[in-house]
Symmetry: C2
Subunit: 399 residues, 2 copies
């Protein structure tokens, strides 16, 4: 596959030196939006190529983090390799890297060296913890940022107070989105000023900023800190029915009236504990326990129909296999199947944001290691026999 590229970032070239998730998912988003993203990998390739479920040697996570990109595999410890990257940088608008602080400079591609090759480049450094401080030297894993940012505390169990990890890599992926936005903003600014710049982004900073609006609401007003958020101690909005789990929430008075009606308990409307929005918040545990007792007596379909008819926001709690088949997901034309040349039949979601004039879409399949070595070197002006020789010598990796 190779669809016509018409996304908002068409015409932009990004040299992507990142690995794992925080960088690759950022550049995938920009690639779906039309940027020509060249993923540059060492001869060993991005570690994600070998992690998790796979078919014919290509993993699900690699497929879903690197689509729409081209791949170049090159040994940057050779002179010929650094020469190739230098030539590539001269053609680029953006360089993104997520090595530990200082590593890329030691490899000869610090900001000054890169800017000498391409004056107006946007140079992007993604780190785990920042460039200084007690954690700057550590290799970063997602759970470490969950621990340091307060996210694991926010998810603590109500009864025991034991912190809990979120079982999806929120810090990695939120950093990817934040990086994609920042790169795009710098491209906009360069369009007006002609000037490139350096963007620095730490996963830790990203998560604290992301959690802040409500997650840190108790620490925003100095001198009025709320030590233990009451809401955190109450049950969550998941209810077991006779055949599965649903969620249902009644915030406004109107929604609460609808819920009492749907559940056949109009007397709750007269209950002093539940009169106002604030009363219902203060007595959340009692309210949710009463609700749970009623919902446990019949099926998901039964309750969802009654609740929706009364204007109460509600939904089934879907398993991952149910998500793919759900009518709302189908109405949104969200999940598509493709034939990947190596991995076979795959599922991918289209990009979430839909642009009516510059559509964003998956333009290419996630590449094999070094898949576009020849194509890219030919574009840089290397003769075919020299490319062949570089591949033979092991300066270029993959096949």
């Amino acid at each position: 596959m190779q669809e016509e590229v018409r996304g908002p970032l068409t015409g932009i070239r990004i040299i992507d030196l990142t690995s794992m998730i925080s960088g690759p998912v950022a550049t995938m988003m920009l690639a779906d939006q039309g940027a020509d993203v060249i993923k540059v990998e060492a001869l060993s390739g991005d570690l994600v190529r070998g992690a998790g479920p796979n078919r014919s040697g290509i993993t699900s996570t690699f497929i879903s983090s690197n689509r729409s990109k081209r791949a170049l595999s090159v040994d940057l410890k050779t002179d010929e390799g650094t020469e190739i990257l230098s030539k590539l940088i001269k053609t680029a608008d953006v360089l993104v890297q997520n090595f530990r602080p200082g590593t890329l400079a030691r490899m000869g591609f610090g900001e000054q060296a890169v800017r000498a090759l391409r004056q107006d480049i946007i140079y992007v450094s993604i780190s785990g913890f920042g460039e200084q401080g007690p954690y700057a030297h550590q290799r970063v894993y997602d759970p470490v940022i969950q621990a340091l940012s307060g996210l694991a505390s926010i998810q603590a169990e109500g009864e025991t107070g034991r912190p809990k990890m979120i079982r999806t890599i929120i810090p990695d992926k939120t950093t990817a989105l934040t990086a994609a936005q920042a790169i795009t903003a710098a491209l906009f600014a360069r369009e007006r000023s002609g000037e490139g710049q350096h963007i620095r982004l730490a996963m830790l900073d990203t998560m604290v900023a992301y959690l802040w609006p409500e997650g840190m609401a108790g620490f925003t007003l100095v001198g009025r800190e709320v030590k233990a958020a009451r809401a955190q101690l109450s049950p969550d909005l998941i209810f077991q029915t006779t055949d599965g789990y649903i969620t249902a929430g009644a915030m406004s008075n109107k929604e609460w009236q609808g819920m009492c009606k749907a559940l056949g308990h109009l007397e709750w409307l007269e209950d002093e504990r539940f009169k106002t929005v604030n009363d219902r918040a203060v007595n959340a545990t009692e309210r949710l326990n009463l609700t749970a007792q009623v919902l446990a007596t019949d099926s998901c379909a039964h309750w969802l129909e009654l609740l929706d008819a009364e204007g109460v926001p509600c939904a089934p709690v879907l398993s991952r296999e149910e998500v793919i088949e759900h009518d709302q997901i189908k109405a949104n034309d969200l999940i598509h199947e493709y034939d990947h040349p190596v991995a076979g039949r795959i599922r991918q979601p289209r990009p979430a944001a839909q642009f009516d004039k510059t559509p964003s879409a998956m333009h290419r399949h996630a590449p094999t290691l070094g898949e576009h070595n020849s194509e890219i070197l030919l574009e840089l002006g290397y003769p075919a026999d020299e490319i062949e020789a570089l591949q033979q010598q092991g300066v270029l990796g993959g096949t």
Copy 2:
């Protein structure tokens, strides 16, 4: 306060008709980056003004979702009110709204009407579920998207299989980031083409796309679906010590060697269950239980020092109050205190992405309802006495 504005989006004006979180956090990010964001509210104001911890009537969450913006409060059910919004749209680059599908068109500001006022405007519609399908009519709350997107299933308890909600509003805030990136991309594209467009973004689509790279790794390869992810059933990476909780992770062989050494159990290196990365994944529960038993015997500080010395990624699990005081957060100069004119002393994180040439920063405090009515109407050419009259008549809200 009103710092000099030099962010990458300086010169862009955004009319922000959104409320709650998904829209306001998106436009706050763009406002921190220099856009002139005018928050347009009904006379009753954004509901978030009244929700949660507050001081002098302004809430933490409002403060942390609406900084750097100006505020106009206007009754759009009056002719004078729609006239004001029409004049404002003529001056704008972007209009963002997160009403339920069709609502804003019924108020007279659908895309066609708005484009008639400003031909090249970027019109942004954020919805909960999409514009069609079985849920399109529902009011959206964050837990409903957690349920429908599979997020609550991903967080299911290992022992009981009961789904769990994440106790921070991931769908709302992830939609905000995705919207901010899309708006910025459309601004970039307009800079080159001169053309505006319509961006549509559903919270449900956002979350499925966000979860996909690893959260849906088991459903990416058609015909090789993984029904229950093994990893989900193993304990998470949180360990109780004698005086608190820490996280520590050993993925590579080198890190595993470091962990065995730090924990004083070099014999684990010879254990058949833990020889390779794959062995350690297959036997994760046994490995984590053994690790937990050792870590339970001494303090956080003791273990973190030993683990870090052996190159094992590790950190304390911080409470929210500890995050604010942590040395790495301080090294990053992340959290600042300000005097809000109404709420008093407040804490805010700086924007996560740091631009060296076009710094992004909090430029203004979150406004009171209608705080900039006069300023904005004077800019639109209204005479002072007419503004006064509009305020008296109740066309303008707030003070």
